[in-house]
Amino acid sequence: MREWWSKARAWMKGRAEIDSELAEEVRSQIEMETEALVERGMSAEAARAAARRRFGNATMVAEQARDAWTFTAFEALLKDVRYGFRAMRRSPAFSLVVILTFALGVGVNTAIFSVVNTVLLKPLPYPASERLAILGEADAKSDFSVTWGNFNYWREGNHSFDDMAAFQLPDRTLTGRGDAVTVREMQVTSAYFGLVGLRPLMGRLLGEDDDRPGAPATIVLSHRFWSGQLGGDPHIVGALLTLDGTPFEVVGVAAPLWTPWRVDCYASLGRALGNPANRTQHGSIRALARLKAGVTMTAARADLDAIMRHLDEVDPGTEKDHHSFATSLADDSVGGVRTSMLVLMGAAGLILLIACANVASLLVARNTARGPELALRNAIGAGQFRLVRQLLTENVVLALAGGAAGIVFAFGALRALIGIAPTSIPRLADTKLDLQVLLFACGITLAAGLLAGLAPVLAARRIDLADMLKEGSRVAGAGKRRQAFRNLLVVGEVAITLVLAFGSGLLLRSLAAAQASDPGFNTERLLSFSLELPKKAYGSEAAVLQFFGALTNDLRGMPGVADASAAHCPPPMGDCGDWFYSVVGRPEPPRDQVPLSLFNWADPGYFRMMGIPIRQGREFRDTDRADGPKIAVINETLAHTWWPNESAIGHQIKFGGPYQDGDVLEIIGVAGDVRQYGRDSTPDPEIFFPTAELSENSLAILVRTTGDPAKLMPAVRARVAALDRNLPLQHFQTMETSLGTGLARRRFSTLLLTLFAGLAMLLAAVGIYGLLNYWVTSREPEIAVRLALGASPARILRWTSFHALRLAAAGTAIGAVGGWFAVSLLREMVFGIPAHSPATLVGAVGAVLALAFLAAAVPSWRAARVDAAVRLHQG
């Protein structure tokens, strides 16, 4: 350590001083010895010569002594780096190609990694976020909400959690501040704020006092809502906001914080729900809880399950067989995007591999050309190791230049990526090229530089340098081995390209299938929007039905409207509620095996208006009233499940299943399936009730127009405002738009993977072109001889293209096998076609072979045009 420090100081002090001191010391010793010899009787001249002789090689002694002060390895590295830069300037075209290739590989990976890092890897911005869990209840089939009653038992009785908060996210209507708007309220128990570490920006957050039933009506605004919708009003604290007709006092504004949920304001759940009357009423409450340090999720669930079993003993009922459900908050919030993110990251990694292969291939070619130079350096004393190190350093310098360019590229790519990405990807907007990402970029740059640099260096080691010197630039035996190595690289990159082409082909076909899929209804000229009627103004079911009836009647009479109808949950709204059911007359399912179905309400004439075919029976009529017989229309999926070979009409289903209260319904019709979750979804069982029996305050209105639906939107909005100007129109869109939005993520990942496959193809084409070009050059004499012996240029053309195609064929064969296994990873992203689709694979193989053929065309053409006479005379 001490030695190292002295060296470092000496290194900084500079070498000159040490050098001159040593030289003087050597001089002084020689003079002393000379004097000693003169004293013994030698002549001055003879003494000086003898002293010199005895001393030895003065220069070498000084040099060796000086070397004790230097960081030999480090200085050699610097020298190599300088040499690398010189080599770069000597062949700018070569360097440019290598740097661009690296830049592409590193840039793509850095951009994608920055997204993956932010979306998947970075811990959520909450205290001890890795211990945060989302809790609910579950039975054998699915997970669902926890009841307010059970939540309170869990919170008091558990031994596994530091803290626990319940929440739900109802939509509310804000009135009295300009146009009525829908706001997303997060009803929470006060522990929530501590769990996510939310702090007030102004005023206060909700506390335990607010959790009590009968507490004053207070809300806290989210930062986004306050600064956006309310214009950052500095005097908002203390103001009253009217939500669903009830005034709430704003007690504070929360500091900005990303949450997995879009929240406009926070209100007290305890105040809204009061004391739990029983523990069987399910709403949409989930719990957020922080595990105690060292407690596993499994142990915590066992703890809650024990509470559930105990509760069932003291308070038996429908909650029997419900147990706890828990998942980490991080998993819960990224759920849907994980697979596509990982697939994209993998694809980016493959591109980097191809880039490395291309660069390695180029380097092999260049090192071959540099053979004589290397041989000469070896001959004048550079060791093999020294040469290897120098070549490697040169390559790493190139890689670093490429990496720097790649980071610039990634910066642009990331901005483009955020621009085109669907906003539903969590935390994407926060993605930055931060330190972690830059470290990653440096890491992969170095790795790529070493990987691409090492292969040709290892090949260079085997060059018999002496042969090289003798032969000059003629490359014979050793060249063949290196050519074989480059062939291998091309085969590898073609294989990887095929995997990417196959994957992107699958996604492209899936996207096409999704876009072309029959949604099950007529999407043309269709508008839809939802209305939620505030309970305060529309207290009774009759008032709600009266309003919606009047509205649809009104809309039907509008010019430009062909028809209008209402349903609770039209496609593609997805899951607006599901519940147990059972079939009367069939064996009772065990408690934890009761089937679930989506449920929905539909107007008379809804199916006709939507263009949903009625397969059996009839749809609802105006005469189907709430006080009449209990009836239902079911969808085809449900009908096929129970009555595959007979009519479902007249059969009965029990809503709620055997263990819950509910009406027995007679099936009067079977409607065709619709893609309830969007174009790329598969239908779930669904039960429809007539809207006359609506028990909710919201309905969606569907309007079929005669002309361009978008043009009618202002008139429709005005018509709703004429009936009630305090109703915001939610999700007001044309059907084509909302179906298109549902495919945004699929379109995004398909676009990226296709882009990656395109890049891979480009790189592979460059690789094949470079290889063949070189092959032709090194074989010009052979080609000339063949031509001279009577081969036609067409034959030469066939010969060279065949060489390229043989490599491409080997690559595609390997890639096809690899791709066939790799696409299992894509399975959940594939829609409408089997993941193992031979047609797609054949298409990808065709595309890659065609590409190889094109890339080989120019060098082959050149080969066919070799002038035999000229070439042979050159000797």
Binding site: R2, K7, E24
Partner: protein
């Protein structure tokens, strides 16, 4: 006779025990003391001195020699003295062990 690896440094320290000396003087001292068995090669002596400087076991200073010539004098530091003592003990044991093994029995 060549020096064993790593012994030259100890011998230099030993030579400086009698007082500061320059490189030439150190070489002379070692040759005389060993009964001209050791031949001090400057190619080893100079780097060894540099190493001793780096480890702060000796310090160097330009001074006038008795016959009026400028020479670089090396002086042992307290740290160097500690090192010498430690090395001497080690070598003593090593030499005894060597001769016990090598000398004929009895």
């Amino acid at each position: 006779m060549e020096f064993l690896q790593g012994t030259l440094e100890v011998l230099i320290l030993r030579s400086l025990q009698v007082g500061p000396n320059h490189a030439y003087g150190i070489g002379q001292f070692l040759e005389q003391q060993s009964g001209n068995e050791f031949v001090v090669d400057n190619g080893s002596l100079y780097p060894a001195l540099q190493r001793l400087l780096q480890r702060k076991w000796v310090v160097a200073q330009w001074k006038m020699s008795p016959n009026g010539r400028r020479a670089r004098y090396y002086r042992m530091t307290p740290l160097g003295r500690q090192q010498l003592v430690a090395e001497q003990t080690k070598w003593q044991r090593f030499v005894e062990a060597m001769s016990r093994v090598l000398s004929p029995e009895g």
